[in-house]
């Protein structure tokens, strides 16, 4: 067997300004990204949603969370392009004189915030439990995985609703907006950790028998360091895929809870709350109150899902 080192084609290229950026552009992942038009559109739409959510206060004509800025005189105006439309309410207003577009932008902010924090929390719980179960094995592993099995057989929405109800009962029925947001993040975090835990555990079981782990143990590194600094980085691919798909699921779960009346209150609506509010005016023919938040939610989830599907295929070496 010859030991000749064949240089990777990209290594010959002169390194342009920031090295990591160049490397990212040369990666297989970026290549597969460039090849899929639908993925590029989905990524663009997702990015757009995040940007308009971040800059919501600049783009909106009013702050829909501030009752002082709402005027009942402006209630139930239809969108601008219809006969009764009034500027500046591009997408019309709802019962309380809230501009629908502003409400969507601010609601998007809440939905994305809850979704991202929920994914981070569930990821943290799942990764820690998965690492612990896989690395130590034995009774700890048995216990954690048994809990995971049981929880997996129940739909996440049911668990989230239960946690929600328990939180309400412990903290008092009327929660303010911020603590409701925290409860939602908590409920989503505790509902979605199982998939991370199972995946991470599986990867750890493969990794922990490899030489580098044995070497790390030999030089006396403590278990948490080996798990977090050495084993965890080798499981990032699957975690990233789960996190992307779970972001869509978390946003759906938050929207569903809010729609069912167990989520964000009407004084600080997320997209789900807006749909709940608008649903009440559907029969009066005021379709715009529900249609635009609904469309925004559907477009957001669809693009994140498409992104997740692509990432799963792109990171799967079997499909290359």
């Amino acid at each position: 067997m010859s030991e000749a080192v064949v240089p990777h084609p990209t290594e010959k290229r002169p390194a342009a300004a920031p090295g990591w950026f160049r490397r990212a552009l040369d990666s297989d992942l970026f290549y597969s990204f460039r090849r899929s038009k639908i993925t590029m559109i989905a990524a663009g739409v997702t990015l757009l949603f995040f940007l308009v959510a971040i800059f919501a206060s600049v783009l909106s004509v009013q702050n829909p969370f501030d009752p002082a800025q709402l005027q009942l005189m402006n209630s139930r105006i239809s969108p601008l392009w219809t006969a009764d439309g009034q500027s500046p309410f591009l997408l019309g207003t709802d019962e309380q004189g809230r501009d629908v577009l502003s409400a969507i932008l601010y609601g998007l902010r809440i939905s994305l915030l809850v979704g991202v924090l929920g994914v981070v929390l569930s990821g943290a719980i799942g990764i820690l439990l998965g690492l612990t179960a896989g690395y130590f094995g034995g009774a700890v592993d048995g216990l954690i995985m048994r809990i995971a099995d049981v929880q997996l057989s129940f739909p996440a929405i049911l668990i989230a609703l239960l946690i929600n109800g328990i939180a309400k009962s412990v903290l008092g029925n009327k929660l303010d907006e911020t603590s409701m947001l925290a409860v939602l993040v908590f409920a989503i975090g505790l509902s979605f950790w199982v998939q991370y835990a199972r995946t991470v555990r599986g990867s750890v079981l493969v990794e922990k028998n490899k030489d580098y782990v044995a070497a790390a143990q030999l030089i006396g590194l403590p278990a948490p360091v080996i798990m977090l600094r050495h084993v965890l980085p080798n499981t990032t691919g699957p975690i990233l895929v789960i996190a992307t798909i779970n972001l869509a699921l978390a946003i759906i779960t938050e929207a569903t809870l809010s729609f069912l009346g167990s989520g964000m209150p009407e004084t600080m609506p997320s997209l789900g709350t807006l749909i709940r509010i608008g649903n009440g005016y559907l029969f009066a023919g005021e379709w715009w109150i529900v249609a635009f938040p609904g469309f925004a939610l559907a477009a957001l989830i669809l693009s994140i899902n498409l992104l997740g599907d692509w990432l799963r295929d792109a990171l799967n070496p079997k499909l290359r």
């Binding site: 057989s153 129940f154 739909p155 609703l161 109800g165 729609f259 167990s262 789900g272 939610l297 989830i301």
Partner: protein, 326 residues
Amino acid sequence: MLAFTLRRAVQAIGVMIAVGIISFSMFRFAGDPVNQMVGMDTSGAERAAIRQSLGLDDPVIVQFGRYIGNAAQFKFGVSYQFRLPVTNLLMERMPATLELAIVASIFAMISGILMGVYSALRRDSWLAHVFQAVSLIGISLPTFLIGVLMIYLFSVTLGWLPSFGRGDVVHIGWWATGLLTLSGLKALIMPAITLGLFQMTLIMRLVRAEMLEVLRTDYIRFARARGLTTRAIHFGHALRNTLVPVITVAGLQFGSVIAFAIITETVFQWPGMGLLFVQAVQNVDIPIMAAYLMMVSLIFVTINLVVDILYTIVDPRLRSTVSRAH
């Protein structure tokens, strides 16, 4: 075989005990049950009397034993908001949920299998692409949004179907069925489709993948070589072998259908257990929440157990190992 069945049964009982502990802790520790039951002006002595009569002063383990004992006899206490026994409330609403879930599952099975078989056999036809698009939408659109959309289309705009309730019902014993009246059937259409859509997507994708897999196998090639008709190959051999995993998944999913009915029932104001549960969460009616959790868990565990046992009967290879039929 017997050992396997026993082990699975013990596991199922373990799960039920775990759920019982959660359910009991909710009832006992999440808020004070006495406070929920009395008004603001109840005196301390009266509170103590209620506390005594509920047995809340006994040791926790005794209370837990009593709770499980009652639960085994389907006694879950009295609802805080309705002041009625929870069991009566649940039983009254169970037929509505079960009818909805069964009809939704049947709809999902039939349409999912048809769409799956078609898109596997005619992979490049335009209709197959339409089915793929529908399945992507079915996974991406939240259930409640589909419901709202259907109400807008078929109730508000076209006025064909009722937007809420379950129409007229006929009582057969204690079971109130909406399947025997025209208004009941009309009221069932939209909720059943909304609830079944996600399962339909799942089954369609599964049937398509399984069919494509089976059509590549040697025995199908041999059947072709023998000169069997295409129809006999596709439906007599390929589809039949596809159906085992499909029926398993559909069976395992039935519990999820009942749980997901929570959302559909809220959208369509369908008077089932899910709507009761959502109202209980909003009003912090712990006895209903706890009882619902126990009921749904029992359904889940029973289905899982039955499927596992059926699996070992159908597939002898599984008998020696501990299988997980997920």
